[in-house]
Symmetry: C2
Subunit: 354 residues, 2 copies
């Protein structure tokens, strides 16, 4: 049976990427060796790393604009710490839009003063704060552009003189965007980019060097940049598979085209959530994420029935996060619209038959 994979992350990747990655683990490009047994200092792997970094800059429109791309380890959680280590001298500001922002705030507090500039905690993070003022004395303002758990997404990046830093783990490469508004952004691979195990970090090169503390080597962007993401052995498989996905995005017509497809999938799904009497959306309509749609049953006693309908249709990974309950459909780049249609069918079956 075909599985429709709505997992929040690790999550669906393009079928051809998984096939190519599988083949490379067997043998990389007729080299007689597996991808995972070659030296990271070999010509073959250095080319993989270089191409991955170049494509990341190209797709975000930042090539030749003074930015640097790195593939590191540790996930966004390590970036919560690392961004503060490298950029926080006195005070950083945060827009708190949920679990991940809260974790980022916690790590930054170890290294300096933190100002929570805005928060949507008053409504269990079901909306994106707007019209807040940004103090001018911040070293940077940190945003979470998409909130996987709550299903909200920042549609408009605030205009401010303060440097912007963003966690884009769950919506990078999903929509057209002025990435040059940011001094630094990062994204764990395991949503729209690749398997778990690597994290893309892109930063403006002149944003570094402004803090006075000693930075441990592994947490120092300058050290990692000087070593071209290879200060130590990089996560070879995760970087290679991310490169395959970046090539796939390019073949799809780049992120503008991908963004149009994602909007179509989201419109279809949210349309059904709003129309269907058995369901209600969780996030404020104007802030709804195009990556993670969160919704609940109007009658929670139907959950077992709906779960069964979904299971029969081959739907996987739809359970909502415990902070929200209900359902979460993660509709990342690689999820085909067919899968969304199957989910909509299941929602209609519930409405008609129960």
């Amino acid at each position: 049976m075909k599985i429709h994979n709505f997992s929040a992350g690790p999550s669906i990747l393009p079928q051809e990427v998984m096939q190519q990655a599988s083949q490379a683990v067997k043998e990389l490009d007729e080299s007689g060796l597996s991808l995972i047994e070659i030296s990271h200092r070999s010509k073959a792997f250095i080319e993989i790393m270089e191409e991955a970094c170049e494509r990341a800059l190209q797709l975000t429109g930042l090539q030749g604009k003074g930015y640097k791309a790195l593939f590191l380890q540790g996930g966004a959680s390590q970036q919560f710490l690392m961004s503060a280590y490298n950029l926080l001298e006195k005070k950083a500001g945060f827009v708190n839009t949920g679990t991940w922002s809260t974790k980022a705030i916690k790590e930054a507090k170890l290294l300096g003063e933190v100002s929570e500039v805005a928060s949507s905690q008053d409504a269990n993070f079901n909306y994106i704060p707007k019209n807040y003022s940004v103090p001018s004395d911040l070293d940077y303002l940190h945003l979470t552009t998409n909130n996987t758990i709550f299903g909200t997404q920042i549609k408009s990046i605030p205009d401010t003189e303060v440097p912007l830093v963003a966690d884009m783990s769950s919506d990078i490469f999903s929509r057209k965007f002025d990435y040059s508004k940011f001094d630094l952004f990062y994204a764990g691979a395991q949503k729209n980019m690749g398997p778990a195990g690597t994290t893309l970090v892109i930063f403006k090169e002149d944003a570094l060097g402004k803090v006075s503390r000693s930075i441990p080597s592994m947490l120092d962007y300058a050290v990692q940049a000087k070593a071209e993401s290879m200060f130590n052995t990089p996560p070879v498989f995760a970087v290679y598979t991310s490169l395959l996905t970046l090539r796939w995005i390019e073949n799809q017509g780049g992120i503008e085209k991908i963004g149009i497809k994602n909007a179509a999938k989201a419109t279809h799904l949210y349309g059904e959530i709003d129309r269907n009497s058995k369901f209600k959306g969780f996030a404020a309509p104007e802030d709804r994420s195009h990556m993670n749609a969160t919704f609940n049953l109007t009658d929670p006693s139907l959950s077992e029935t709906f779960d069964k309908i979904c299971q029969t249709a081959g739907i996987s990974g739809l359970k909502g996060h415990r902070s929200v309950g209900g359902y979460r459909a993660s509709i990342y780049n690689a999820l085909p619209i067919d899968s969304v249609e199957v989910l909509v069918d299941c929602m209609q079956i519930l409405e008609k038959e129960y």
Copy 2:
């Protein structure tokens, strides 16, 4: 042509492990989904992580002895920092046996006082210091059990009342050993355990909680232990492939049997290095590594000729590190003795024909 892979790391893994890993990227256990697209919170992956941690403790003889195993990210380089963050309150001691020890010392210095208890830097690290005295006021003494670059290996663990910490990246699971002598040891996967991208850390649970500083979440062993290696998304592919290798080690008869095979490979190769007039070993004979054999030509002008002989025979990854020059044959667990025999043949061809 069959390739004989002598790479220092990432390095050869068992053929069956690479086949199984490749298959899992296509589809995990007839689940209809790839290993890399399932949730790390799924039953399937939680079982993978649990089995990997259990097997690591079993193979090292530490199960039920108050130890905990974790699979983290960041490589040994991150452990240089993390071990100091968690264990260094006042002063740590280091036996400096080369590049990796030196890097570990550098990171520890950010967090406390460091005493270099012994060093072999006086002879370009070609031996392991012995008969040094260990000050009793150390929080711990850090060793590098095997030195990939210089080809030396600690044969006898010092007896001391001071807690021992070790970087075992390049010889873990390669020989029988009293692992309970250590309070903490760690190993990047990419030599004897799996692909680059995960790091095994094993520690005595009561060794933690003795420092007064605040530890960032990602660098806190207690946080990672409480979350069973899943404080954030783990490097799924690297952990799974490591598990496959741990199963393979078990099927080989465990590390005692593996150690006997490794000794046979090493004896064969060092025997030829000593016998053959064209070569000389780099490391002190009593400290020679069973994992990385370093050797040089007696007549360096023959290097192009020897390289050509090796290339014709399908030998890959033999170039020595720039700190030592010459050659380095990494003969990790998964390297078959046939490959060592092919290398010895090449060495004999050079001696006979040139």
